[in-house]
Symmetry: C2
Subunit: 342 residues, 2 copies
């Protein structure tokens, strides 16, 4: 017999989910965390709705859980914060199986354990649509928080990895016929990019080592020379958001945007570019920093990391093709997915 | 023309909501907060779903916002934490009006401003059902955190105010014919108890002053002599949860449970008792502490505060009527609302 959440109720479900939480976190109205002395608290929230952000068709509960956790850890990484814990609010229709919920938590925990991050509390309620609300907490040195608003003219724009892979994986799951012309290894790489994205917390110690060794540490007279955010809503969105917050423009070089190797001879150049710019959910970091440090960072990261452009005066984000096959193009947010159009 | 959220999109809506947030909190992937030295971070999450936790029939957007904020501040109060901020995740169907969302934020802000608590960030996404995910952050002295698990045999059980008023207000909104035999003042008191509940953050300085002046401060050898939680799921639930977490039982005295004055000659004794025990959402605190301090606390709080029972050996929560009109009754969680039964 398949047990559904309506069979065991909120209390019964909470009891089953307790094994995913550290025992000291259980049983009170709120969870208690301790930030290290001198560290600031960094907080980020995501709401994920079935049918909008994940689907039973393309996403197992384990993958939905992993992706939700990864998205929030990625937001912390984007600000140079070390994860401390996440709180999970879960809205469920009565007919969801208890097993589905346990598998969701299993996936979340798999991702979180890689980064020693506990689930520190939450809420389980009835809802007509499965909804996952995650709030992640991290701690950061207040002088070393990476913000969107700190880009300056002349900065190199670094991406920490390839773009478009997650969206390609989603398209393959939605339209299996697209698999033609893709070998197994490439297929699996793209699917995995969609199902198991990796938050780039690994970039931060490397970035910090480079800044330290080149005397780019922030002081009262020289703030942190790095701006950035993650590319969860696509590369174009990230660059546009940084430019808007920093009151600058940018030139992106089409031929330097790193695509997954699988895109060669599978997608057209136009498709590959659209996936990379607007596909989203690659969860790479987009960082603006001085060229010398940018070069070192790209070299040390390898694996698709690249300098994709430069911060400029003005407010336009221009996409340029050095081969001049494609005309110059001004990027805008409105080319991205419309979130409220049903 | 009525503007709907689908007309302005996620970005447009976020821009409209920014006026409810402090300017320094806007624009990054995450918000940054600073806890005072030596303070722990206390975190609580609530998920509220339209049709389950609030309804357009009984609740204006302002009231829904107020109630959501109050519920989370109440969870912080229950642990003796001072609010620092809340993060708001909002799921919205495209046809919701922008005005509705602004009024929701207006109500949240009205409640939060009473406690100097900013909205520090959030997320706005499309959802088939209006969903509100709130995570509240507070700070607390780690030695002074009130937990459910610290009740000991002999403790007096204090409630900080009357119970059943919020549920009565809801019933009046759902069934206007119940208003017979209630004068205007009483009607308004009950409606307001439902629409504008007050988190009892005001209790904490008083409690702390009493503990300090009677040398009940926690030391390494004597932990905090207070257990507690809030009564958001009803008085019975609060006492049962405390007893379970503390591995003790309790005797509640029927005649000491404080009801709203409006219940006299309006509800039967049975109804009044059920509303108080299982109605929920009164957001009072239920505190277990030594009798001497309990008496002082009740005296200082006034306004419906009362000692309603005693912590006992065992695990049963017994309801006793000193007039012996009602037989003794063992309370259980399963008498409360079933959350997943549709």
């Amino acid at each position: 017999m398949t047990i559904k959440v309506r069979d065991i109720g909120e209390q019964g479900l909470l009891e089953k989910l307790q094994r995913f939480c550290p025992p000291e976190m259980i049983g009170d109205d709120a969870a208690v965390l301790v930030t290290a002395p001198g560290q600031s608290l960094v907080v980020t929230t995501d709401l994920l709705v079935e049918g909008v952000h994940f689907s039973h068709v393309t996403t197992s509960p384990e993958d939905a859980g992993w992706r939700a956790a990864a998205a929030n850890l990625s937001d912390l990484a984007a600000m140079n914060a070390l994860p401390m814990g996440i709180a999970v609010g879960l809205g469920l229709p009565g007919e969801v199986t208890v097993s589905w919920v346990e598998r969701l938590y299993q996936g979340m925990t798999e991702c979180l354990q890689k980064y020693n991050t506990p689930i520190v509390g939450g809420d389980v309620v009835r809802s007509p649509v499965t909804t996952l609300a995650i709030t992640a907490f991290g701690q950061a040195d207040p002088n070393r928080i990476i913000r969107r608003s700190a880009a300056v003219v002349g900065d190199a724009i670094v991406v920490t990895g390839v773009h478009g892979a997650s969206h390609a994986g989603l398209q393959l799951l939605l339209h299996p016929e697209l698999r033609q012309n893709l070998n197994d290894a490439k297929y699996k790489t793209l699917i995995k990019a969609h199902q198991r994205p990796q938050p780039r917390l690994d970039v931060l110690p490397i970035l910090w080592a480079i800044l330290t060794s080149t005397s780019q540490l922030p002081t009262p007279n020289s703030p942190l020379p790095v701006a950035g955010m993650d590319s969860s809503d696509g590369l174009a969105d990230a660059v546009l958001q940084i430019c808007r917050a920093s009151d600058v423009g940018a030139v992106l070089e089409h031929r330097q945007i790193p695509f997954p190797e699988a895109f060669n001879r599978w997608l057209t150049e136009e498709q590959a570019l659209e996936y990379a710019l607007y596909g989203g959910e690659d969860f790479e970091l987009v960082l603006c920093l001085p060229t010398e440090q940018a070069n070192t960072l790209v070299e040390m990261l390898g694996q698709g990391a690249a300098i994709v452009g430069t911060i400029t005066l003005g407010s336009q984000v221009l996409l340029h093709d050095k081969y001049e096959k494609f005309p110059d193009r001004i990027l805008s947010l409105s080319q991205g997915f419309q979130h409220f159009s049903d």
